[in-house]
């Protein structure tokens, strides 16, 4: 079975903390993504990576950064967490090329207090 694993299902952090969300995939996929899911807004792309050490901004990168040191691991970093970053975060991976299926992790529900 293909698998994308996110390190935490639920996370509570304080305002101003540095937060790391980790994602690991076991499918040798080149592409990896971080999306944010909010009610009424669907999923929005924060950052993506198409190769090791390569990263590009998505639609809402402000307040976030990412790291991809190994092919299987893609980390999302909140440099200084704020309450408006309380959300569900979904990691996904896919092979290169069009129409390829994206495989998702189970999401991390982050609450910033």
């Amino acid at each position: 079975d293909v698998k994308v694993t996110q390190s935490s299902r639920y996370l509570v952090k304080r305002t101003g903390e540095k937060v790391f969300l980790e994602c690991v995939q076991d499918m040798d996929h080149e592409n990896m993504f971080w999306y944010r899911q909010d009610p009424g807004l669907g999923l929005r792309l924060i950052y993506f990576s198409y190769d090791v050490k390569m990263k590009e901004k998505g639609d809402i990168p402000e307040g976030y950064s990412v790291s991809r040191e190994k092919k299987e691991r893609f980390s999302l970093i909140l440099e200084s967490a704020s309450t408006n970053q309380t959300s569900m975060y979904l990691c996904a991976s896919s092979l290169p090329g069009g129409s390829t299926e994206a495989f998702f992790g189970q999401g991390t529900r982050l609450t910033v207090v």
Binding site: F33, L43, L45, G58, G98, T100
Partner: protein, 116 residues
Amino acid sequence: AQTVTQSQPEMSVQEAETVTLSCTYDTSENNYYLFWYKQPPSRQMILVIRQEAYKQQNATENRFSVNFQKAAKSFSLKISDSQLGDTAMYFCAFMKHRTSYGKLTFGQGTILTVHP
């Protein structure tokens, strides 16, 4: 930029009945892909069905089928013989054909409840 709109925040259907979820999109691209993803209460997002824009034939996967109207930029999902396990949030998504690196643009989602 592409936009995807799902105008039905919530839908409900009786078990064994048929339901149709709506999706419209806006793009200047000619070649692209459209998807329906399902997110059940477990939160595990899975692919339901995909459509390639250059194929006129509507995609079908068992009880799931789409009505793809390219000129109208409409991509609806029909679920036949609804089952309790179909209860989930459904997302319509768009992907450009080239140089997209697999990036998806999602709609707002539709919560579908199947009643026994």
